[in-house]
Every structure is written in C-alpha cells, then in structure tokens.
C-alpha cells in the first residue's frame, strides 16, 4: 500500500463527501424550488464523486474495507477535507460563495488530474470535471447576481466573502504527500494553481462588485485532520445510522 497515495485520494474524496453532505442539508429548504433542486443535484454529483474516490481509496488500502466503511466509520481526525467545505451553510448567499470559492479550485484540479498516472484518478477526474464546470457556472452566476444585486444582497454576500476568505489559503496547501504524488506522476504540475484560481475569482468578483478582504489572517488544518468544531456535528448526523445499527443496508 502506498500511504501517500491513499492520503491524497482521501483529501479529494472528503472534500466531495463533506460538501455534498452540507449541500444536501438544503433539501426541502431552498429559497426557491429551482434552487432546492439545483443544490441537491450538485450534492448528488459530489456524493457520486466521493463514492468513486472512496472506493478507490479503499482498494488502494487493501485492508478489505469498502468505500462505505471509509465514509461512515472513520473518526473526525481521520477526515482530510478542507475547512472551507465543512463551514455551515449560512444563508443562500453564504452557500453560493462557499461553493464558488471551491468550484473555481476544483475545476482546475480536475483539469490537471485528467493526466494523472493513476488511471482511476484520471477517469474520475475526467468524469467529474464535466459536472464541476456546471457547478462553477451556477455558483459564479449567483455570486454575480447577489453581489451586483440589491443593497442588501450585496452587503450580505460581501459579508459571506469576508467570513469565508480566511479558509481559501488552504486550497493551496501542500506537504510531503503532494511532493510524493508529483514525483510519481499521480499529481501533475499544479504550480500555477493559485494564479489560475485568483484569475477566475478576480474576474467574477469584479463583475459582482465585491472586494477581497484585506484582513490576511488565514486558517488551515483540514488536510492534516485538524478540523473546526463544525465537522463533528456533520459526522454525528451522517454516521448515526451505521453507528447505531452496524452493517445496516437498504
């Protein structure tokens, strides 16, 4: 088993899983029917990606576990998702801002991973990229609409940006895991990731008349399993059935 490779796949998988779960909390609570449907469709794509990725991680581990075991039976410190994706939904604008910051990053990541030397990762990336492009189109349009909307929508989504900006530095987090993945060709070159991401973000924020916060205090830790207090609540809800009724299926 290649420990770094498992770790790497878990990072991408957990981003999909936790954000997919967060978005699905909107089911039945969307501000309008169309957006209720949109958010749950995006959640479905993300959970689908997480399923493929977690199955792959389980196969790489070779311990006889399934993707479901990894989704439902790990402890909070074993999750590798970004702090950004576990942040609470807030209002609709907050959810769209979180989604946009993430989608802008994810599109670039999947574009590059299509050339991964791990054929399964390459296949999942190719498939997921097509979906992620639609997510990005959707979230960026809402950021523009709310930012360049009414006085209230502008103020509220600017506030969301101010709150979430501190978690964006973690999108570019790298450590020994990434270095090893680069060496083995599993992770193609990403040195311009930040530059590309900033390009998208700046274009959309300009259109949306939003300004990037000048406060540069940043928070990270998710990639190492150090999470905000919010993850525990997500897991409590997500894992309840498997913990209460081990091995149950339906």
């Amino acid at each position: 088993m290649n420990q770094a490779q498992v770790e790497f796949v878990l990072r991408i998988a957990d981003d999909s899983l936790i954000l997919g779960h967060r978005l699905s909390e909107w089911c039945g609570h969307g501000p309008i029917l169309e957006e209720d449907i949109a958010m749950t469709n995006i959640a479905l794509d993300l959970i689908g990606q997480a399923t493929s990725l977690l199955n792959h991680a389980a196969a790489l581990q070779g311990e006889g576990k399934t993707g479901d075991d990894l989704a439902f039976l790990r402890f909070d410190r074993d999750y590798r998702n970004l702090l950004l994706v576990e942040q609470p939904n807030g209002d609709f604008g907050m959810t769209m801002m979180r989604q946009f910051l993430f989608d802008a990053y994810r599109t670039i990541l999947f574009e590059r991973l299509q050339a991964s030397s791990d054929e399964m990762i390459a296949a999942i990336a190719e498939k997921s990229l097509k979906e992620t492009k639609y997510h990005l189109k959707h979230s960026s349009e809402w950021v523009i609409r709310l930012g360049d909307g009414t006085e209230e929508s502008h103020a509220r989504i600017q506030e969301s940006l101010n709150t979430l900006w501190r978690y964006t530095n973690e999108l570019f987090y790298t450590d020994a895991v990434d270095e090893e993945m680069h060496r083995s060709g599993i992770l193609p070159d990403l040195s311009d990731l930040r530059e590309q991401w900033e390009d998208t973000v700046n274009r959309v924020f300009q259109e949306a008349t939003l300004s990037i916060p000048t406060n540069n205090w940043k928070q990270e830790g998710g990639r190492k399993g150090m999470h905000s207090e919010h993850l525990g609540y997500i897991l409590a809800e997500m894992q309840y059935m498997q913990r209460a009724y081990p091995n149950m299926e339906w």
Partner: protein, 161 residues
C-alpha cells in the same frame, strides 16, 4: 448459441428508469457486449457520477437477459472514457423531442464563465424564443427551460462533453 447482435437487440428492450422513452442503447451507456455463446458480460458507464439509476439499469439488464435464456450475465461499471451526450443516438434524440424533452444542443461550452445560456428550441412548437429557468432540472442530466411563445415549460437534456 447467443450472439452479441442478439444481446444488443434485447438491450433495446431495457428502458432508462428516469427517462423511460429512451432505451439504455439510445442513451449510449452500454459500452460493450461480450458473449461466449452462453454467458454474457456487459460493460456500462454512468451518465453522471452520482446517477442513482445505475444499479437499477444493471438489475434490469440481468433480468432481461435471464428472460431471454442467458442465466449467467455479469455487468461491470466503467468510468473511462467518460460518458458524453454525443453518445445519445439520433433515434434517441427524436424520441426525446417527441416526449417533450429538448435533446442536447451542440454547445461549444468551452468558456464556462460569462457564457450566454444556450438557445434551446421548444420541443412543443419549435420556437427558438425560449429562456432558461434553471441550469438544474428534475434530474442531474437536465436543465429547466420555458418557451416564450407557447409558454410550455420543458426539460432540456443538457449537453455534457
């Protein structure tokens, strides 16, 4: 002796659970069919990562082949190459339109951001004076449109490539 040609024909009797007017062959999710004359092995690919219909499609294929006398049929799932709406057959596109779902348009879709919504003709009256209501419709593969002329609300099978 069972032949692959026969199996392909039988698969045309298996409909997509979400859009029953299409068969799984029309949809382009059948990637390969193999047989040694007795057993069958079929490879399918999902339309979207989270497509909840895949398990049901798999079960229906096994069920259909059993009905035709192929007792031993295995179905495998592949992700690559990724499914694209280009694989929906011409016949499938016609069936969609008749059913009231606008088939995928050839979208250039390379500059995702700031692109105008695609013009999707109304499947009811054919008018191009239509508008997008939402990029996401009743299933992951559809968007929601409305005709400005006849006022018909309709699904658009959105382009994925």
């Amino acid at each position: 002796m069972v032949t692959t040609t026969e199996i392909w024909r039988w698969l045309e009797e298996v409909s997509d659970p979400e859009i029953p007017v299409l068969t799984v062959v029309d949809l382009g999710v059948i990637r390969s069919v193999e047989t040694d004359g007795k057993n069958a092995h079929i490879v399918i690919t999902p339309t979207y990562s989270g497509c909840p219909a895949m398990k049901m499609i798999e079960d229906q294929i096994i069920e259909k082949l059993k009905e035709k006398g192929v007792v031993n049929c295995t179905v495998a799932l592949t992700l690559a190459p990724a499914w694209t709406t280009d694989w929906i057959s011409q016949e499938g596109r016609n069936k969609l339109r008749e059913y009231g779902i606008a088939p995928p348009e050839n979208e250039p879709d390379k500059t995702v951001l700031f692109a105008k919504p695609t013009v999707v003709p109304c499947p009811k009256c054919g008018s191009s004076n239509t508008r997008m209501i939402s990029l996401f419709g009743s299933t992951a593969c559809k968007a929601h449109y409305q005709c400005n002329d006849c006022l018909e609300p309709y699904d658009y099978f959105k382009c994925l490539k």
